[in-house]
């Protein structure tokens, strides 16, 4: 399945784009997605320990299953306020 991944802040700067299309197998988890991202963008390796994941605007754990057509986002810890 094709998944659109939004990235923000420092991660967006490292990747050079705010939106990435990834091909994932059915039943893939957040961890699978992160691995695939790191394979495509090695420059984000080392950031994984603090990265946050969301699916359709809700936080998810890295072991959650990615649902087809969901909006996924990867970003560093938030710092609004």
């Amino acid at each position: 399945m094709n998944i659109k991944v939004l990235v923000f802040a420092h991660i967006k700067e490292l990747i050079g784009s705010g939106s990435i299309d990834l091909e994932l197998s059915e039943g893939a988890t957040g961890n699978d997605l992160l691995q695939k991202m790191e394979a495509s963008f090695p420059q984000i390796k080392g950031h994984r320990k603090y990265l946050k994941l969301s699916m359709n605007g809700e936080y998810i754990n890295a072991d959650a299953t990615i649902i087809q057509d969901a909006e996924i986002a990867i970003f560093p810890p938030v710092s609004g306020g």
């Binding site: 923000f8 969301s54 986002a73 970003f75 710092s79």
Partner: protein, 140 residues
């Protein structure tokens, strides 16, 4: 009641949103850009948001605050883009019959916003450096 804007925030309009004939107290929190971070001088803060999720999380914070505290209304406005020194980045206003729940809910809302709402800030320093900030120092 929950919005992200890319221009100056009018504080009066946010407190007006939570006004209610049943409310005797309004507590507000106003976040402002400071001139120094540690000993580095700041030019401005640059805010970026994931807007749809940010609004969703603000609504969740509002719902949690209404459940946890005896309040009437809550409004949150966050600005994105460049915010200069002494300019306002965020306003939270909470109305309640009495002052204690208004204060408690307002503080809860800003604490939780800083944990959950997907907005990030980068400091632009006078020496030309740029630095993304983490609210939680453990995660820096």
């Amino acid at each position: 009641m929950f919005e992200i804007v890319d221009h100056e925030i009018d504080i009066d309009s946010i407190t007006a949103k939570v006004s209610s004939p049943e409310a005797g107290a309004i507590a507000t929190f106003i976040g402002v850009t400071r001139n120094f971070t540690g000993n580095m001088q700041v030019t401005c803060l640059q805010y970026e948001a994931y807007p749809s999720m940010a609004i969703k999380m603000m609504k969740k914070i509002g719902a949690m605050a209404e459940k946890a505290f005896d309040i009437k209304k809550i409004a949150i406005t966050h600005r994105i883009g460049a915010v200069s020194i002494e300019e306002v980045s965020v306003v939270i206003a909470v109305s309640a019959s009495h002052r204690k729940p208004a204060f408690r809910a307002c503080e809860y809302a800003i604490d939780t916003l800083k944990e959950l709402v997907p907005i990030w800030k980068k400091e632009l320093l006078t020496n030309g450096e740029q630095k993304w900030i983490a609210n939680n120092p453990e995660l820096k």
